[in-house]
Symmetry: C2
Subunit: 236 residues, 2 copies
DNA sequence: TAAAGTGATTAGTATTACAAATACGTGGTT
DNA sequence: AACCACGTATTTGTAATACTAATCACTTTA
């Protein structure tokens, strides 16, 4: 979906490859990777490039290396689940119903609260940015441009909270919306379905009405939950 | 405070050093780092080790490298604010009032919601783990052991949500509680002040009463907000 | 004036060699 | 036979070096 990730250099390719193998489950937790020299050869990169990639995966909590023992995949508990890459890999490789459910639950918690905070503290510029995004949604003539404007809207709301911790949670919202665009039943036909709901949110933030903003956003997310195709992937 | 971070290897030391310099503000956003060869020499490590560290910092969104141009510190907007290291560095180096405020705001959003979810879905084992932590708090005879049990309690609650995204937010809670133990007015004298509040939360989760659990936790966090020493650091 | 080329600088990649940690087996001791 | 000490092999950690690729800034040229 939204994947403008450019492969600038070699080790980021290696990061992607190994990361997807792990998050996708082909390399299960507890399992050992081949030793660096061998793995490097198999992936047609130098040990240097491979190691730079492994350090990053290690920082994401996916793997753990020790001398003599080797490198093994860590238990899921230790994974940096909020990391943008990890989220993207999970959504791309295993958008199971239960995971989608968890993403929606996060939205239901974060977004209404963020909305209320935005209604209290937004600056005129931040409001303008939300408004611009809304205009973009209103003017959208296809799913592609709608999706972009929709993401921009929710990101702008988070920014209006003036809390950078909140803003960093956008990766979660992004993943949730991304899978929604893929799995939702409404996408094809009337993708502008939720425009009025967004307007209510915008107006509440404009008028500085925290509780109205919270409730509007709550309804929107709850509503979107219902619109997931029930067939899903069939997987648990 | 809670910093059992072992310096196993060289590049993790380099990560710490550079990370602290950046998050602490000594290396401002936009500023360039010395070129790799030079920086490596200054830090008394090989370029190899330095680069492995830089890739990790790059993954945390702190820096950005480009050929010919060099490596520069990125704007704070791009920082991975939810990363455990970044949070730890911020708390240790710049626990300004405004940042503490943001941490508390996150707690107020996350923890009551997590509590409600835990009350709905906790397994007997998960409940037992919360109970154990509570017993630890009850039995604590000094601030040190209290702090440990307190952290365990809140972590156990997050685990009981059965939502790994929620669990990953523990790094935020941990940072908030950590700075609380340092800055709170109550720490020295009666550090067990909040024990009854924790009991209410525990009982609500035991009895599977989501709304009671949510409200109890909400009160607890709101209450803790009041107990921060008002002098703080004086900084904005 | 603008376009094309050229050189210098810096990160990216590869290769090699060695250091350090440690699991495992070996051999000796009780 | 059980156990302890010790050496060795294996794997990651670190260093040094050489070269590649991108790109900025300057110069030359149309």
């Amino acid at each position: 979906m939204v994947k403008p990730i450019v492969m600038r250099n070699l080790h980021s390719q290696v990061i992607q490859e190994l990361g997807q193998l792990i998050v996708g489950g082909e390399l299960a937790p507890g399992e050992f990777l081949p030793r660096e020299e061998l793995l490097a050869e198999r992936m047609h990169v130098s040990r240097t490039a491979l190691r730079e990639a492994m350090k990053v995966l290690s920082a994401k909590g996916l793997i753990e290396s020790r001398q003599k023992t080797g490198t093994r995949v860590r238990e899921k508990i230790f994974w940096n689940q909020l990391d943008a890459d990890v989220l993207a890999w999970r959504c791309a490789l295993m958008p199971t119903d239960s995971f989608v459910e968890k993403l929606v639950e996060m939205r239901e918690i974060i977004e209404p609260a963020a909305c209320a905070a935005a209604a209290r503290r937004r600056s005129p510029e931040q409001l303008a940015r939300i408004d611009t995004a809304y205009q973009g949604m209103s003017a959208a003539e296809n799913l592609e441009s709608w999706a972009l404007a929709d993401l921009a809207f929710h990101e702008a709301v988070l920014h209006a909270t003036n809390n950078e911790l909140m803003i960093s949670l956008f990766s979660v919202i992004e993943s949730a919306l991304g899978t929604y665009f893929v799995l939702s039943a409404r996408t094809a036909a009337n993708f502008k379905y939720s425009l009025p709901q967004h307007q209510k949110v915008l107006e509440a933030i404009r008028r500085r009405q925290p509780e109205v903003a919270r409730e509007s956003m709550r309804k929107m997310v709850t509503d979107s939950r219902r619109n997931f195709r029930r067939q899903g992937t069939g997987k648990a």
